[in-house]
Symmetry: C2
Subunit: 211 residues, 2 copies
């Protein structure tokens, strides 16, 4: 592991372990030993374990959110150009697709996605807030777009359903690293791409259901 610089090595190791073992169940010693770094280097480079978590999340979530926001704004711009409301389908797609495509972009990304998926309902407020504050702006942008796309639904219902979708997404995001629901009596799981397509179809149908 040690060719690249210590700080990155620690980030990679922490990402992997936080995702697979959980934040509180991961010790700095486990991280530094995986990263082949000295124990004290975490506090030297990041200040504390909490700050390390924040750095792990921000490193990937900031660029990911930027992609999502750009895509959503493109959809909104195209719609306003054609003087029609945006479609719920295209908005949802702009939000969901980058997330799961992202998990194929680099080896550590899958772990990261799983970490993010879990942090939405993490009992630790530090973890949850660290994630929520980063996603909230994008979430609000999506919500406002959907209000225009589906004016027949009240904002309250729309928000509720959007939260349902977030729940579905985090679950799917976690499934990547979790031991699957493998049982001989059940059919085998789908591959990543079909899974995204199915997720989109499911979420869209649930979102557009009559009130």
């Amino acid at each position: 592991m040690p060719p690249y610089d210590t700080k990155t090595r620690i980030l990679d190791g922490a990402e992997k372990l936080f995702a697979r073992e959980g934040f509180h169940n991961t010790s700095l010693r486990a991280i530094t030993s995986l990263a082949e770094a000295n124990l004290a280097s975490v506090n030297y480079h990041f200040g504390s374990k909490d700050a390390l978590l924040q750095a792990v999340i921000e490193r990937r979530l900031l660029p990911l959110n930027q992609i999502r926001e750009t895509k959503i704004r493109e959809v909104l711009a195209r719609a306003s150009e054609e003087n029609t409301p945006p479609t719920a389908d295209s908005l949802l797609c702009a939000f969901i697709e980058p997330t799961l495509e992202f998990s194929n972009s680099s080896p550590g990304a899958k772990d990261f996605i799983s970490l993010v998926g879990r942090s939405l309902s993490d009992p630790d407020e530090t973890v949850r807030n660290c994630f929520l504050t980063l996603v909230l702006p994008t979430f609000q942008l999506l919500f406002k777009g959907l209000c225009d796309a589906l004016p027949q639904l009240s904002p309250t219902i729309l928000l509720t359903r959007l939260q349902f979708i977030m729940g579905t997404m985090s679950h799917v995001m976690c499934m990547g690293t979790l031991s699957a629901l493998n049982n001989p009596a059940l059919p085998p799981p789908l591959d990543q791409n079909t899974l995204i397509q199915q997720l989109l179809k499911y979420a869209l149908a649930g979102l557009e259901a009559p009130e």
Copy 2:
């Protein structure tokens, strides 16, 4: 707290803390101090911290699953009586409604529901398996019923969507104790009952979407 017996007091305290702070972030000392019991009593009554978690989950999940199974079997029996396939709506209802009604049944139940919601994607295999093995039989019963209810959908798609629903459910279950997504720019959240109705409508629409 101390009127009733120590074992129950420990279960109640553990349930509350496991749900709110997470399993690994909760110490036995915190539990026993909340339960006004001696530290050693946990190991005396339950053997270990892991076994305590198992006891906490089993205490409520076993009866809850029994309710769910009974309701599902009732739906199946009624359908076979009338010689028609069961409806996806009634099956889903039999599975979902008891879960969230349960959270109003006793003060600790809301914590428990939140704990269960999280354990579906808990990084710790001990936690996850403890939960999965208890729910799997009910889950399979539901799955087989849905295969009859929606024969136009392939079992693989059906299973995938059922997992989406599980994700939505766990998220909703967690939301009870989590600091809500409260933002002045967003509408306020729904009350518990309307939330269940909405969840059912959302899940049913997503489940029945054309393949």
